[in-house]
């Protein structure tokens, strides 16, 4: 439909992008504001970024977030890739599809209380490890979705050719299939890392008490509840830029990742 866009549509699209990006840009600009005022511009300053990097609770929360995101991404990427390959190389099953789709659509508050109830029932001590176990659940679903799309655009007869030439199943997997789906695997890993870094509710419920398992979103939440401060603006700017970078990297790795 490469026809001309009429001016009304163009205006609507422009306004829509304004709606999407102005709030984010305002936050970013205000993070460089000298005064402690959240909205009135009083001059450029990097003071709040300095404060951020000397704030021990924030740094420890950032460390925890990094641990949770790295470990849960690693687990989910391996498990999710195997699962995607397994599902795509056998007869399709609506039941399997539903199970794999569920973590993406189930309200996070429901998954959060279900996991908290489960951990309590089996007397699991809460901490970073229980957040990791929980994050893998939804991370798997996203890795599977991305890798499956990649699998569908892959010529399966190559696998038969490899087998006919005498390659073992494992060799075929490692030398033929894996290189072909690698962009999807990388994109899936980057997305699950992003999700894990940003996830709040499930972490909040499954972290247990204490600063030792507080993640960055939990820290941000309690700061927001406390009030609007330039320090949150500074942290928000960094977190947003990190997410944007990761998502763009995922899109570069696998161009189909958002527009399957």
């Amino acid at each position: 439909m490469a026809r001309r866009m009429n001016p009304g549509l163009k205006l609507h699209l422009g306004l829509f992008f304004g709606f999407l990006y102005i709030p984010v840009l305002v936050l970013m600009v205000l993070s460089f504001n000298r005064a402690g005022l959240p909205t009135v511009w009083t001059g450029f300053s990097l003071e709040w970024y300095g404060k951020l990097f000397s704030d021990e609770p924030i740094l420890s929360a950032a460390r925890n977030t990094l641990i949770v995101a790295l470990v849960s991404t690693a687990l989910a990427t391996v498990i999710g890739t195997l699962l995607a390959v397994g599902v795509e190389t056998r007869r399709s099953s609506p039941f399997l599809d539903a199970i794999l789709f569920a973590p993406m659509i189930i309200p996070d508050i429901v998954l959060a209380i279900a996991l908290l109830s489960f951990y309590t029932a089996i007397s699991l001590t809460l901490g970073l490890h229980s957040i990791i176990l929980s994050h893998v659940v939804f991370n798997i679903a996203f890795v599977v979705a991305v890798v499956r799309t990649r699998m569908r655009h892959f010529d399966h007869s190559v696998l038969e050719a490899s087998a006919d030439l005498g390659a073992s199943e494992f060799t075929t997997f490692r030398r033929v299939l894996l290189p072909a789906i690698a962009p999807g695997v990388i994109a899936g890993a980057l997305l699950s890392f992003t999700l894990s870094v940003d996830e709040f509710i499930i972490a909040f419920f499954t972290a247990g008490a204490g600063q030792s398992s507080t993640t960055l979103p939990m820290q941000i939440y309690s700061m927001i509840r406390f009030g609007v401060t330039p320090e949150i603006n500074a942290m928000a700017t960094i977190v947003m830029l990190v997410s944007f970078t990761l998502v763009l990297m995922a899109q570069r790795a696998d161009r189909r990742v958002f527009t399957q």
Binding site: L20, L111, A114, S117, F118, V137, I224, T259
Partner: protein, 283 residues
């Protein structure tokens, strides 16, 4: 035998993980809903249907209806904003379309708390909108934009519209172009072609996007909590309170069962819409 082993290695870890940490926990809270709360929180394993009776109490039913109303409003506005935006993107030059879609989806993949917080900065008494309107002399007193239903709807629309754009764009792209040409050749004005030919073929995309916004909005906790200022109760907050403040886990479990049931009904309806559309397209 070898085939079995292969399946076990590929599917085993993933399905095992999801079974143990999604299916079992959800089944567990289902069973909690028919037990009594313990004296100090926790569960007292005495069978009861009291939780269901309580959930149907006008007080809680009211909260359910209010949440549905807010979620419905957010869904409607999201579709009204997303449809023309998606349509505009399909009309853009091919090489720009992917870039535009990425621009749409980029904020959607960033931190939800921060995106919501951004609207506290925008809507507060000293925020950009109030200060802007005061500067051009439209208002003298700041408008109460924050901590009310309006703010919650704005937050939900802001957070979920990008997904609706994506869903509608996908279905616009799948439209059979010959039907549009046929309609134009038969002399139908642009508006009629749009309403009678294009929109009906994109119903599956509208349904997919709409169900997504509605489900995520009605179970939302962060947006009503931060932008509603604690004055606005939605189902998500109610469940949160039962687990963390009231310590009535069985009742919280019952409420989340209602949420899951509602979600399944909507997803089923959406699947039916998609199936019917696929059948019609095949004809």
């Amino acid at each position: 035998m070898k085939q079995r082993l292969k399946t076990a290695i590929l599917l085993g870890p993933g399905l095992g993980w999801l079974a143990l940490l999604m299916v079992v926990p959800c089944a567990l809270i289902f069973t909690y809903s028919v037990f009594e709360r313990g004296v100090y929180g926790g569960i007292d394993y005495t069978f009861t249907l009291e939780n269901f009776r309580r959930a149907a109490d006008p007080l809680f039913l009211g909260i359910f209806l209010q949440s549905a109303k807010i979620a419905g409003l957010a869904t409607l506005i999201a579709i009204l904003i997303a449809y023309p935006a998606a349509f505009a993107i399909t009309r853009a030059p091919r090489r720009w379309q992917t870039a535009l879609l990425i621009l749409v989806i980029l904020p959607f993949w960033s931190n939800y708390l921060i995106r919501t917080y951004a609207w506290i900065v925008m809507l507060n008494r000293e925020g950009l909108i109030n200060n802007g309107l005061a500067a051009i002399g439209v208002i003298e007193e700041p408008l109460p934009l924050l901590y009310n239903t309006f703010a919650v709807v704005v937050g939900l629309v802001y957070n979920y519209t990008p997904f609706v754009v994506l869903a509608i764009y996908a279905s616009l792209n799948r439209i059979n172009r010959e039907t549009i040409e046929a309609s134009e050749d038969l002399g139908a004005p642009g508006w009629v072609t749009f309403r009678r030919v294009i929109v009906p073929q994109t119903v599956p995309g509208i349904a997919a996007g709409g169900v997504f916004v509605f489900v995520l909005s009605i179970g939302n906790f962060i947006t009503p909590d931060l932008l509603g200022g604690g004055r606005l109760q939605m189902v998500g907050n109610l469940i949160y309170d039962q687990f963390l403040s009231a310590r009535d886990w069985p009742f919280g479990a019952t409420l989340s069962m209602f949420l899951i049931a509602l979600m399944m009904i909507l997803l089923f309806a959406q699947a039916m819409v998609a199936r019917r559309a696929a059948r019609e397209a095949a004809r």
